[in-house]
């Protein structure tokens, strides 16, 4: 009986194997987040007990750590800073990367391919090489200790990445539409505004998402350029301001991390394939 298996049984066995192999991956991937959540809602005495099972509540869950963040720290200001920075970075990125991506993809400029590659390579110049000279630039502009410094600096990586991404995107828009529009009397500008941009909204939306998520991945620039307590974005403010000396308030630290980490991770998750497509040059579909 054990030797004869129906296709259905085979399929179930195969699934069990795959799930079994994937389980450690899933646990490793989400455990730190689970630990964040449980820590953020635990009462203080419940956090520091090693004698009892730490992965579940032994006292009633509490919102204390969350209220503490908004009442006694600059967390609210950091959230607003993060949002404002992202918004401005997205605007700057769209205004520069959309035209550049379109130009490189569609207007057959001599050397456009090399130029596209050059733009992408600038994305790979690491922040650690640029942050010291940029600190001088920031000082020159009078923006030290101000979140506007990050609005100036973040486009150094969002523009190259989004230009490259949009270049790939504009190549997929059918050429005939623009030509038809031009034959109908639109100039190049008219064809871009009336025909190309409306069909490119998904591409531009992706660019906005990346302007946001890539900004959230930064730590170095925020750490180096903004030291005023109320001017920081969340990913920089939480580790530098909420840790005082050697005292860690893990409950509120994890609450602070969770409120920003989870939404960003979810958003990024939906667009991850686009990101991979972007950096691998649209080879994988």
């Amino acid at each position: 009986m054990a030797t004869v298996r129906t296709p259905q049984q085979k399929e179930i066995r195969r699934h069990l194997w795959i799930y079994g192999a994937l389980t450690p991956y899933i646990i490793i991937a989400i455990f730190p987040i689970y630990w964040m959540i449980i820590t953020a809602f635990k009462q203080e005495p419940d956090l520091y007990r090693m004698d009892i099972f730490p992965l579940w509540f032994h006292m009633a869950p509490t919102f204390k750590h969350f209220t503490y963040l908004f009442v006694s720290t600059n967390y609210g200001a950091w959230l607003i800073n993060t949002m404002s920075i992202s918004l401005w970075v997205a605007v700057i990125t769209l205004l520069t990367a959309v035209p550049a991506g379109y130009s490189l993809a569609r207007l057959r400029i001599p050397g456009s391919e090399n130029m596209g590659i050059a733009v992408f390579m600038t994305y790979l110049v690491p922040a650690i090489i640029l942050f010291l000279p940029l600190s001088r630039v920031v000082a020159m502009l009078g923006l030290q200790d101000n979140w506007w410094a990050l609005v100036v600096v973040y486009p150094t990586f969002t523009i190259p990445f989004c230009t490259w991404l949009l270049m790939g995107f504009f190549k997929t828009v059918p050429m005939e539409m623009e030509e038809a529009a031009r034959v109908d009397g639109c100039g190049y500008f008219g064809a871009l505004m009336r025909v190309v941009l409306p069909v490119s909204i998904p591409g531009m939306l992706t660019a906005v998402i990346f302007a946001f998520t890539l900004s959230m991945q930064d730590f170095l620039y925020g750490l180096a350029f903004v030291s005023a307590g109320d001017q920081k974005p969340v990913p920089v403010g939480v580790p530098t301001e909420l840790i005082r000396g050697d005292v860690f308030f893990w409950g509120s630290l994890m609450a602070a991390a969770l409120m920003v980490g989870l939404p960003v991770a979810l958003l990024y998750n939906f667009f991850l394939d686009r990101f991979i497509q972007g950096i691998t040059g649209g080879v994988g579909k």
């Binding site: 994937l22 497509q277 994988g284």
Partner: protein
């Protein structure tokens, strides 16, 4: 300005040359389709190119200048110091420790995420029920903002209330708190470096897997079928069809990750600040501590520029690769 690190500058000069030549051409050419298209193209390109030249190209050159000067945070007037900063770096012990740690960190992490990522990619390549959800869950480490997830790890590595130690103690690998084999993750030299590498691997193996997966799915089934008809076995197909076809994608993914790993400061800075006793000191952390915390801009710039020769061969490889691909 034209000597941007990426070579984008020469294209920009030809852009200006083309724009200038438009002015002297006869009016007929000026009105021509081509000239209108090109001038519109350069106009659209200009803002992005200028932004990148001003805030990536110029700072890069400026960092070379800083590295050759005695620039200091307190003193805005810097004078030329020659190779003094590089000499000072090469003569300090902590520089060699940081260089060694950076290379060790990157290599060990690359091997681990290569293995973990490949296994995961093969698993995700199988058709199974609930794949979308599983994929969404396993890529979470890569999508969390890095500073945020490092905080969670710092709490898991806590010297007394580490949940990892609780688990290890429960399954009997180590004793209870206070016993000599209780690991203080961030306080013991080798463990601290391992702890930092673990966070990097945890964060980026999903990326390796997804890049590999993108590669695998880009190989058309017809090609594989054709190879199968030709009588090849699985390993031959893998070695002679799949690997050459996905090599460009893999290389880009590998390079991207290496640049990130070599130049990332946040994991080590937030976990250990380079301690204990320089055991986790890597070049980015050293550059930050010297350049910003100690205010020696020139010294810091020289240290961060030492990363460049490590990255350059990879960049050249990538450049050759990108040039060969077709869109």
């Amino acid at each position: 300005m034209t000597a941007s690190p990426s070579g984008g500058g020469s294209d920009a000069t030809s852009a200006w040359a083309a724009a200038a030549s438009v002015a002297v051409r006869p009016r007929g050419w000026l009105r021509s389709e081509t000239s209108r298209r090109l001038s519109f193209g350069y106009l659209l390109l200009a803002p992005a190119v200028l932004y990148v030249l001003l805030l990536v190209g110029a700072p890069f050159l400026f960092s070379l200048y800083l590295a050759l000067s005695d620039a200091n945070v307190g003193d805005p007037v810097a004078s030329f110091a020659g190779l003094e900063n590089f000499r000072a770096a090469l003569e300090s012990d902590v520089f060699y420790i940081a260089l060694r740690n950076s290379i060790l960190f990157t290599l060990v992490a690359a091997v681990l995420k290569g293995i973990l990522g490949t296994l995961l990619a093969f698993l995700l390549l199988q058709p199974f029920w609930g794949k979308k959800i599983v994929r969404g869950l396993v890529v979470i480490p890569f999508t969390l903002p890095i500073a945020i997830s490092v905080l969670s790890w710092k709490w898991m590595y806590d010297s007394q209330f580490s949940v990892i130690n609780w688990f290890l103690s429960r399954i009997g690998v180590i004793g209870s708190y206070g016993s000599p084999d209780w690991p203080i993750w961030l306080g013991q030299p080798y463990l601290a470096l391992a702890a930092c590498i673990i966070v990097n691997v945890w964060r980026t193996y999903p990326f390796s897997a997804i890049v590999l997966l993108a590669g695998f799915t880009s190989v058309p089934n017809e090609v594989l079928d054709a190879a199968r008809v030709d009588g090849t076995n699985f390993f031959q197909r893998f070695r002679y069809v799949v690997v050459p076809m996905i090599a460009p994608i893999l290389l880009i993914g590998f390079l991207f990750d290496t640049v990130f790993t070599l130049s990332d400061l946040s994991i080590v800075y937030l976990l250990t600040q380079g301690g204990p006793a320089n055991a986790t000191k890597i070049l980015p952390v050293l550059a930050y501590q010297v350049g910003i915390q100690a205010g020696a801009l020139g010294r810091g710039a020289a240290i961060s520029l030492f990363l460049f020769p490590l990255l350059l061969p990879l960049m050249i490889l990538l450049l050759r690769n990108l040039k060969r691909r077709d869109y």
